[in-house]
């Protein structure tokens, strides 16, 4: 099971500000290990965020998103809603985390 994400979602004047930090190595497929062998690419390629089942943000990543990817976005919403964030990586691994908007 991949490491949990750190998510912060706070509402101000009807706008929810969401900050997400995912834990992932985001291997580009360009690096070589000590033996000179190429380390295969392995990175998060899709992220989706939903509030009460409604899509509020989607992203597709390439390998050029930094290690431990960070995202910040804003949507119209209210306090107390449940925000669900799901990522999928290029090996098909998944991680889902939920948080209540504060």
């Amino acid at each position: 099971m991949p490491d949990p994400m750190r998510i912060r979602a706070s509402e101000k004047d009807g706008i929810v500000d969401v900050k997400i930090l995912m834990r992932h190595d985001m291997e580009t497929g360009q690096r070589k290990d000590a033996a000179g062998k190429t380390i295969p690419a392995w990175f998060i390629n899709q992220v989706s965020a939903k509030v009460q089942g409604r899509d509020v943000f989607n992203a597709n990543f390439g390998s050029a998103i930094s290690k431990d990817p960070f995202l910040n976005f804003k949507y119209k919403g209210s306090k107390g809603d449940k925000l669900t964030v799901i990522w999928t990586d290029s090996k098909g691994e998944k991680r889902t985390d939920e948080i209540l908007v504060s």
């Binding site: 989706s48 943000f57 804003k74």
Partner: protein, 150 residues
């Protein structure tokens, strides 16, 4: 008939049904485009995004450094007054040009911040799709230490 093909058919049917049943909305079905992410040049990516070279727009405001000390972590962001539905970030001199695509469903602000890797000093293109049309703005970010390979 070949088993893989059968499975593919089965999966695409299930996916289609989920889409019709409203279990997944259209924006969620945004596919990870291999053609776009494998693009090795700006033109490859423009082609995969189905656009000619986008026009420059002054309505896109960037948050990006002039100089990045560490190419592995370059904070970039943008906000725009355009009715953006999608944003794409392209690094001209990276091995793969397209870094990421971001989708804003209705009700989401035309704003995003993330962190990207840059192999070397390069022009970074920020594309915004608004009302079906791609627009862009560009900024050169100088990198003192590369973020790929090494």
């Amino acid at each position: 008939m070949n088993q893989q093909r059968r499975n593919l058919l089965k999966h695409s049917m299930v996916f289609g049904l989920m889409a019709t049943a409203g279990l997944i909305s259209t924006s969620q079905a945004q596919e990870w485009s291999k053609a776009a992410f494998d693009g090795k040049s700006l033109d490859d990516v423009f082609k995969a995004l189905n656009t000619a070279t986008p026009e420059k727009s002054s309505a896109i405001t960037l948050t990006a450094p002039d100089i990045a000390e560490n190419g592995a972590v370059v904070p970039v962001g943008l906000t725009t007054s355009l009715k953006a539905e999608q944003v794409a970030i392209l690094v001209e001199k990276n091995p793969n040009t397209l870094a990421g695509q971001f989708y804003f469903p209705a009700g989401t602000e035309a704003f995003v911040t993330t962190r990207i890797k840059m192999a070397q000093t390069s022009n970074v293109y920020f594309l915004v799709k608004a009302e079906g049309k791609w627009l862009m703005t560009m900024k050169e970010i100088k990198v003192t230490l590369g973020g790929c390979g090494g």
